[in-house]
Symmetry: C2
Subunit: 138 residues, 2 copies
């Protein structure tokens, strides 16, 4: 059983965010101890991991709540839930492509700065100084 603080360290979410999610009903299986403190078992932890992934896919808290409610309704909602997951899976794959591009861009940018620092190129990263026929640095 994990406290909010422990879950925070395990998942890399702030304690505030974890309380916010549980209060919104995104982790229906979370329990309380005799002092009213939130207690997460393995199941709650796994649910929260799922919530975290769905959130990072771009789903709103409200939409995740709807999904969780569908889960609580049982088998009859499986097709609908599958549709939601398929959509978020597509989003995740698109995000992966974007992340690759972003990493590549930042790497090139860093190398470009190195070139400037080594005086191989003039400082054309300054937008105010850019002139026609100069290579574009951004």
């Amino acid at each position: 059983m994990y406290t909010v603080k422990e879950v925070s360290k395990l998942l890399g979410l702030t304690e505030h965010t974890i309380r916010y999610y549980t209060d919104k009903g995104l982790v229906p299986s979370v329990q309380r101890d005799k002092n009213n403190n939130r207690l997460f078992d393995e199941e709650s932890l796994n649910w929260l991991i799922g919530v975290k992934h769905l959130k990072q896919c771009g789903m709103s808290v409200e939409d995740i709540k709807s999904y969780v409610d569908l889960c609580l309704e049982g088998r009859s909602t499986i097709q609908e839930r599958y549709g939601i997951i398929m959509k978020q899976k597509a989003t995740a794959l698109a995000q992966l492509e974007e992340a690759k591009q972003r990493a590549k861009y930042m790497e090139e940018k860093a190398n470009h700065y190195l070139d400037i620092i080594n005086e191989v190129l003039p400082d054309d990263t300054n937008p105010g100084k850019w002139q026609k026929n100069m290579p574009i640095a951004h």
Copy 2:
């Protein structure tokens, strides 16, 4: 030269966001036509692409503004700018790893749903029905 609408389509940002960024000074090279409409040339477009990437790395609008101001100051700030870019590059690489994990998770989740729909497994994605000794589905 591109209008706000064209830039919106090119970069996948909303027109609102583009105006917001230019108003905040994140694209210093953007011009206006005789009717006061924002006009983007190649340079402005490239700057906005850079801003978009920095934003997606998790930088705040305020911090990006500081970075842009450093750029406008010229060569003397190169080392500082290089430091910022190196940090964001590290972030981008970490994000790439997370995106991979997320895509993998969503793929497994989708396959799991397929198994349930094909009645290979019971519906143990329902947190309210989870029991000890049952396999964890999330």
